[in-house]
Each structure stands twice: as structure tokens, then as C-alpha cells.
Amino acid sequence: MGARTRAELLKIRSTRTTFGLVVGMVLLVLLFVLLTGLLEHASGLEEKSNQHDYLAIGTLAALFAALAGVLVVTSEYRFGTIRPTFLFTPRRSRVVEAKLAASLIAGLVFAAVAEGLAFGIGYVILSGRGIPIALNGGDVALLVLGTLGSCAVWGAIGVGLGTILRNQVGSVIGLLAWSLLVENLLFGLVPSVGRYTPGRATDAVTGSSSDHLLSPAVGGVVLVAWAAALAAGGLTLTARRDVD
């Protein structure tokens, strides 16, 4: 791993913000896993598609990974540390690349924590209630690897978005509004378009069998394309814009 990537990982680790994000994510995962697992009718959870989505609750790490990615960039602009950062590494593309790499790693860690909890606790609850596991080994592998991979990519999406917008509040609100509102509306109203959004592509990658989704492979390509486009935009703008 490059020195700059390690420095970026230190930035992520050395403030309480990241810790707060992880705590928030864990609480949210626990809430959904326990509520759904304990309150949902057994008949509902026996159905394969529902069971998949239940055990895939860990994908909500994607949003937290993206938030972490956004903060990796925007907190530098907010607090002015971008100046010393660029003074030490004046080839700004290298800074952005290091932030992309660090956020991929952070996203992976977020996903491992969230999906570990969701799958582990979910599995225990299902077994405890005597509900047979309807997923086969391939389904589980796709679920786990898809979650890890897509959340890592979401970290890069956050970096791309933050690099383009630079403004912290704007980026966070934009990200939340997009993922919680716009994507769902779009998918609900025009699924043929909405399935190409990063969030629905993520569902596809984990092997969800909800209607209208892309295939896992195509979903993966679409998700990576989103991250690549945002990162490319961010790299171009960062090279061209002055730093105040």
C-alpha cells in the first residue's frame, strides 16, 4: 500500500467522526436485523427472496462508506487541511487517488462489520426460530462478496462526489437525498431507468431477486461505472481549480 494511502487511512482513523459513523451503522444494522428477525412472520422469512434481503441488511454499510468517503475529502476543504495536504503532495491527482484507495479499504471494513453482524445475527435468529435456510452456497457467496465489493465502491463514490462538490454539508445532504429519496422514487416510478442507479445496482450485485433489477454482473459494471465517472470528474476538477 502506498504511503499516501496509509496517510489517508490515518486521517480516517484519527478523528472521532469515523468512529461515530461505525457506531451509527452498527446500531442501525442491529435495529433492522432484530426487528425484522423477531417480528416478521416465519412464513415471510421462509421465502427465498425475502430471506436474501433480510440477510443482506449489511448493504446499508454502503451509505456509511459513501459518507466516510465524502468526509475524507470535504472535511479537508472545510477545515483547510487541504492546503498542507496539497503542499506536501502538489500533484493533486495523487492525493485524490490515495483518498479513493483509502475509501475503498474503509468501505470494505464497514461492509465486513455490517454484513458480519447482519448475516451472523440473522442466521442465528433464523436457526433459532427453526426457519430453514433457503439460500444455497452460491447465493451466500454472492451476497457476502457483493456486499463487500459494492460497499468498497461506494467509498469511492463518496470520494468522487466530495471531490466534485467540496462543500461538506451540500455533499452529505446530496448523498442522503439521492440514496434515500431520488433512487427509490425513480425505481418506483420508472424501474427501467431506476435500476441503473447505484443503489439498485448494489441490490443487483448482492443477488437480490426483486423485480426489475439488473443481473449481478451487469449491476457490478454499472456500479463501478458510476464510481469511475464521479472519480474522473473529481480528478479533472481538482487538477483545474485553485485552492483558496
Partner: protein, 297 residues
Amino acid sequence: MTPVVVADSLTKRYGRITAVEDLSFALQAGTITGFLGPNGAGKTTTLRMLLGLAAPTSGRSLLFDRPYAQLDRPALRVGAVLEATDFHPGRSGRNHLLTLSRAVRLPDARVDEALRLVELEEAAGRRVKGYSLGMRQRLGLAAALLGDPELLVLDEPANGLDPEGVRWLRDFLRAFAAEGRTVFVSSHVLAEVAQTVDQVLIINRGCLVVESSLDELTARLGGGVRVRTPKAAELEQALAAAGIESAAAGDGTLFVRGTTSERVGEVAFTAGVPLHELTAESSSLEEVFLELTSEKQ
């Protein structure tokens, strides 16, 4: 000897506003140069262009013969502080330095050395939000010193420092330059740096007004006439009509250059302006500075 810093016709425009215009200068190794001018004169914009943070509209700048961004590991040659507040408040001082040093593969021991140099070892483990402005200034300086650079570029480093802090900074910069290294320090208050610098660059409204050694500046612009009158504006006009430049220094006081007290007295008499004071004097540096950067320039 090749200059350490070269600005070559640097110009920066923001839309129709020209922040820096055709600015050229060169700094030699081992010197401390004060970069002076009132707030908004274009000092910070110039420093940002030197350091590759802002692209000049035209012209170029070289540090050690290269544009900053093309230096190999620039932190090892140039240390710079642009803002005293460039820290994440929730990160400790030591971690702030580590995020920078590790990015350019400096050993962690350099962080402790830099902290010792600025006498910030005790607070290093605490989060920056609890630091005083003086401590933040020193942490910024520590960051600039991480790579043991040959050139220090500091923007208004004395801002917010108490007199003891200013003295500490002065001693530090002198010791730094005494090792043959170079310092380029901006300020909007000449008095802050007058006892530290060897030479000054004074800019006003983006243009270079004076480039000289401090001694030359004092000598060249040494003499003048101080005149106090209740009708300062009228006297100013009368002097201007006689081809004599003057600068208002407030409280009805004018500072007049390039003439004698006799001549000023005659002009005042002809214009019917009563004088309360008419003194020939060698001006203080502050007055020189005030005149060079006054609105008339």
C-alpha cells in the same frame, strides 16, 4: 548564485478584478524577506501562486529553479504555512503532523523533532480544538518544518501572537536564516517584521511598490516633513497643485516627501491654511510604509 524564489511577471485576475499584476522579484538564499502590504494587496494570492495552489493568469514562478508542483518531494525543500487554522479540530496535533509526514515517507521521528522545535511536545497528544491561537501557529510551523526545508514561506505568522510569541518567532526565523536558509514572510504590519527581515518587498493593489533592503528603505525615504493642520484636505490640494506629494496620516497630520519645511510653509501660507505643527524629520519605517501603501499609490 541562483535565486531560491523567482516570480516572473506573475499576474492573477479573478474576472475583472486584478489581484496581482505583473509581479516580479527574486529572493537569494540565506535572506529573510518581508512581504508587506495592506490587507487585500495580493500577498496571499502571490504566495498561493508560488506554492502551486493557485494558477497564475499569466507569468510564472520558480522555487529552486522549478515550478513548485514539479519539485521532487517539495516538503523537503519548502515549508509553508498559509493559514494558522488549517487543522481538523478533532485530530491531535501529533496525528495532524503524522498525516503529512507519512504521506511523503518521512520517519515518524521527524514529527517529534518538529514538535520539539516549536516547543509543542506537551500538547501534541491533545486534540487541536483545545489549542490557543499561538499553539496553532506553532503547530502550523511544525508542519512546515517536517521536511527540514531550505525555504520557509509564512503568511502573516505573527497574527494573533502575543508579544512573547512574536519575539519567539523572530528569534526562530533569525536562527533559521543564520544557517543559510531562506525565509519569505508576509505581514500587513511592518513593525511586526521590521526587526526580523533583511529586505522588504512592498506591494499595494497587486503591484510591487518597493523592493529593497531595510537599510536602503530607511535611507532612501528617510527625510520628510510632518505638518499638522485643521485644514488637512485643503493643504493636501494646495501641495498637489504645487507638484508636491503628501500622505494623510490621520488627526490632521500630513506627511510630505521630497521637499523642505520652508517650501511647505510657503505653500500653506499662500493657500491660507493655518499650521499647528511643521517639523522636518526622518520618518519612521511605519510612516514610510503608510505612505507607500496609501490610497494615492
